[in-house]
Symmetry: C2
Subunit: 177 residues, 2 copies
């Protein structure tokens, strides 16, 4: 959700709960569907049939997995820049039960009118589609570890852009729990 | 750990805590290292520099991610068969804080002398190297959800083998917590 201050310059960005429908333009939400799936392993497990195909093979890329520990960002906080990966998707999965903040832009990323902010439920992961502008990882309320699945290749696939307007990310619940 | 019954036929397999050193012959343990890493994102995160390269590109394969919900297996339980993927690695990451049981074989998988069983600490994931014989996913004590990262391709890459000896997986703690 974006809301503009009286002078029309600053943007106050208030995260809303992450849902697959709202996040669809940016990639996908990694979470157990509420229903469906089919039985495997002699009835010992249920698998959900629609895999998320990770976009990691372009120009010699391989899937790689890394561990990242993120510090919480005290809110409200001014956001400075976004990044994107033109050749690859990127996936963030929390270790344990940890909520985190997700900021994405649907357009060119340099402005702020198209910014969206979400907060996960602690079990959800996110998958950014290739070329989606997104803010670097933001833990929420406490330090958190993440498994990050990205592209390993000879050339780095990361672009940055500075936000041209003042964007203030606001605590979705006023106080951290 | 394997222990043989008096008649030398049955194998009682007692899971031990999963460690990276013990699991190295079979793949890798996905967990935050106790130390090291370097700062990224303007000091807001620490990344561990050695990525696990997932082995998923062979013969047109792409990385895919699926959600699986596994039921716990009441222990002691007789194990029936193992599986392996000759063309690809496979990674299991628990959603939330969930321990699970890992059974692997270092050799041909049909016997039982080379079986090893581990129990994770709730935060750990595992990465089976290509061609590693392993038991299908076993939740421990309670139902658990997992993100599974494997290979998506036209041809299925899965072989099974029935265990030729009686292998009984035993509760590592006598009683479930």
């Amino acid at each position: 959700m974006t809301a503009f201050s009286a002078d029309g310059t600053d943007v106050c960005l208030i995260p809303v709960p992450l849902t697959a429908a709202a996040f669809a333009p940016f990639g996908g939400v990694i979470e157990m569907p509420a229903q469906g799936g089919h039985s495997i392993n002699d009835g010992m497990a249920v698998i959900h049939a629609d895999p998320v195909i990770l976009d990691l093979n372009r120009t010699g890329g391989r899937a790689s997995l890394q561990l990242v520990r993120a510090r919480p960002l005290p809110l409200p906080a001014r956001l400075q820049r976004l990044e994107r990966h033109m050749l690859s998707s990127q996936t963030f999965l929390p270790v344990g039960n940890r909520r985190f903040l997700v900021v994405v832009a649907s357009g060119q990323g340099t402005g702020a009118d198209d910014l969206r902010a979400f907060v996960t439920d602690g079990r959800q992961g996110v998958h950014y589609a290739a070329s989606t502008w997104h803010h670097p990882l933001i833990a929420w309320a406490e330090e958190a570890d993440f498994v990050v699945i990205g592209r390993s290749a000879a050339a780095v696939d990361c672009e940055y852009v500075d936000l041209t307007r003042t964007v203030v990310l606001t605590d979705p619940e006023g106080e951290h729990p």
